[in-house]
Symmetry: C3
Subunit: 169 residues, 3 copies
């Protein structure tokens, strides 16, 4: 297992940076999309991301089952975008989050091909008034810490510019 | 065009840092203020910022028309504080944001004097429940990315301390 | 006075990082806890933090009076976790925040033993709709700036990984 974790805020350019990291490797590339298009806002965002990626990318939709999607990606370089939406999907569906995290760690441990994970940093604002949002913030922060400890490199993106927190640029 | 973008959170010390960057150049300096004093809270904040700056600064109020204000600043070193309030003013007034962005880029491209732009990073908290706040967050993030790509240097400020994301300290 | 300020978001790993900084010095260590257990959520979080620390730590509860707690810690290396909850306690109790800040600065100026202060960065999200939250955000940002200017070193933590903003790693 040797993956890169790309962290950043909303509209920070983290997907674009992660795509550039994958494009250092020969195509074809796999894109694991965790977003579900419940509404027009999400549909527009998904369509925009998909239009930016070219024909060298195969999209695998995986709102919940990341281990299966990583197995399907196989030996191709893979980008998982993003873990924070995956966590949202797990929470909304009342899935076992600890078990899902263990499954993701096992799937990552078994991979040899280049792997880039994108996640949102969500803990730098005021404490949310909503208890569910506070629980989500805690889980997202815990997941980010756990993966950052295992990652070969961690990049924090602000305004499209990367800051290397760990490992190689 | 060769400008510096200063990014940071609320009360991070970004205005003070930007003022220090301008003060490396000979006075007189121009300060383009995008804030509008709709309430006492804003009036107090504007007065505090204005009191900190000395007589070497001329303030140009420009809630909307940054190209005109930059033209008025002319050959003086100029600080624009801040782009995030400017974007707020554009949104609240239902102005054409794409056209305003193009106007700003053209005005910056034509400048030779030192220019420092201040903007807020607003995307590192929980997803806002309010759709307008989400749209604002997307636009602010997009504007920051676009300007960061064009800037000669980008500084991120936390607790008054700068982190160089791009270019010269 | 020579202290380290550890800044970070919620669940960023800042307490763990601060504990590791203290553990570079010989035990016994003092832990000044500003958290008050008003509800089960806080009780669980406090218990989790306390369980992680070993027998070498003495906990001093100080929701409000940090100077007394720092005096009690005496010559032991001390970790204050965290200033943002302390500020919350001051605000909720309608205490004199400027006086409390002056008291903290005086207590820090008198210390010779290693001292690590933990604080939250809360200003990187959307402007809160709630006026009290905006005031809190301003005060927290001002406190962080003031202490960062006095600190010998300042570390920003994201996903458990430190970024040195000032001084020694």
């Amino acid at each position: 297992m040797s993956f890169t974790l790309v962290l950043g805020g909303a509209r920070s350019g983290k997907s674009r940076h992660a795509e550039a990291l994958i494009a250092r490797h020969p195509a074809p590339w796999a894109y694991i999309a965790t977003a579900e298009a419940w509404d027009d806002e999400m549909r527009a965002r998904i369509a925009e991301h998909r239009a930016r990626r070219g024909a060298e990318w195969t999209t695998i939709d995986a709102p919940l089952d990341l281990p299966a999607a990583l197995a399907e990606a196989g030996a191709r370089p893979v980008l998982v975008d993003c873990l924070t939406l995956w966590l949202t999907n797990l929470m909304l569906g009342e899935h076992d989050i600890a078990a899902a995290g263990a499954g993701l760690r096992a799937a990552l441990a078994g991979r040899a091909a280049p792997t880039v994970l994108v996640a949102n940093e969500v803990g730098l604002g005021i404490v949310p008034e909503n208890a569910l949002a506070r629980r989500f913030r805690d889980l997202a922060g815990g997941l980010n810490q756990d993966l950052a400890a295992r990652a070969a490199s961690v990049h924090f993106i602000a305004a499209g510019l990367p800051l290397v927190l760990k490992g190689e640029p």
